[in-house]
């Protein structure tokens, strides 16, 4: 009897603290799979900032650096410039990347920094108990938007499409948006992550993979209902796919094109 799928080597085999149905679990696995497939476990450095992502250093079997909230791209800039031959991975949530860390995100992208950002977008602040995030949808409820996000009367602003915003910067070369709500989307997201890592190893940057992710606890839904809501409400607003691809190797994910690219 042949096992079709195994536990990735660079993922620690332990029950995680993440909630049942949380997207972090799947995304961690995809990142670990990609690291293993590229043989980079010994030369990977992952940055875990603040948010539920703070736990990531418990679950990735690689070097990790815990950085201040929002400063992940700045910390990664320092690390990647010092260790350009390492695979440097920022693992951030929507508050870290698009609220407190917006300046760091924009400027690292603008400089074309060569690390890869994994941006987990669950449209809410998870760790702190469900406050509104920059990516919370209009009308979506949060503890700091109890009647729903209201751009008009309460002046709460609109949800930010980070990939589209960063695409305007010349320094960005690969911006993709995936989702972990369904097996099909999980598989596509894996390809985006791998493509972004391969680009980093070829010295191409800035690369970011935004991943829509369910937060059953703070959306106050069951895991299945959360995955359904993600598909019905988030995906129409945050379109999936490669928002920007100016990498030296093209080819479309899911159409059998080679993802190996040029020799390193």
């Amino acid at each position: 009897m042949e096992a079709l799928y195994g536990h990735p080597k660079s993922l620690v085999s332990v029950q995680s603290k993440y909630c049942p149905g949380c997207g972090h679990g799947v995304i961690h696995r995809l990142v670990a799979e990609a690291v293993d497939e590229l043989g980079m476990q010994e030369k990977a450095i992952l940055l875990n900032p603040v948010g539920c992502a703070i736990w990531a250093d418990l679950y990735f079997d690689m070097d990790t650096v815990q950085v201040p909230h929002g400063r992940t791209p700045a910390g990664a800039t320092g690390i990647k410039r010092m260790r350009p031959d390492h695979l440097v991975i920022c693992y951030q949530g929507d508050g870290d990347l698009a609220a407190i860390g917006t300046a760091e995100t924009v400027h690292a992208a603008n400089r074309g920094e060569k690390f890869t950002t994994i941006f987990v977008n669950n449209a809410i602040y998870g760790m702190t108990g469900g406050q509104m995030a920059p990516t919370t949808l209009v009308g979506q409820k949060a503890t700091t938007a109890p009647r729903g996000r209201d751009p008009d009367v309460a002046g709460m602003g609109y949800p930010i499409r980070v990939c589209e915003m960063l695409a305007t910067l010349e320094g960005t070369k690969y911006l993709a948006r995936g989702s972990v709500d369904s097996a099909v989307n999980v598989r596509k997201t894996k390809q985006y992550i791998k493509r972004a890592f391969e680009a980093q190893l070829r010295g191409e940057g800035f690369g970011l993979v935004e991943i829509l992710s369910p937060c059953p606890t703070n959306w106050q839904m069951s895991p299945s209902a959360a995955a359904d809501w993600l598909a019905s409400d988030m995906i129409p607003y945050y379109r999936l796919g490669e928002i920007k691809n100016e990498l030296s190797t093209r080819g479309t994910v899911g159409e059998g094109a080679s993802l190996q690219g040029a020799a390193l």
């Binding site: 009897m1 049942p20 149905g21 949380c22």
Partner: protein, 71 residues
């Protein structure tokens, strides 16, 4: 002829989110009636003979609690 397969769930690793059941095209999986030591009701292969080893359950499982075997 479809692949025959077998999903094996680590009951103690599973948190009973049932995203696997949601993603299974053959409705192989459902919640077990017996909880694990954490109090979760883990997923169980209730119709194992229908498994086609597509791997969807493995893909969506946040806890890497499922091993999919090809028979």
């Amino acid at each position: 002829m479809a692949n025959k397969g077998k999903p094996v769930i680590d009951r103690e690793r599973c948190k009973g989110c049932l995203l696997c059941a949601r993603s299974c095209p053959m409705k192989v999986l459902a919640a077990d009636e017996t909880p694990n030591s954490w109090g979760y009701y883990p997923s169980r292969a209730v119709a194992e003979e229908k498994c086609i080893a597509c791997g969807n359950c493995y893909q969506v499982c946040p806890d890497v609690a499922i091993t999919v075997y090809k028979l």
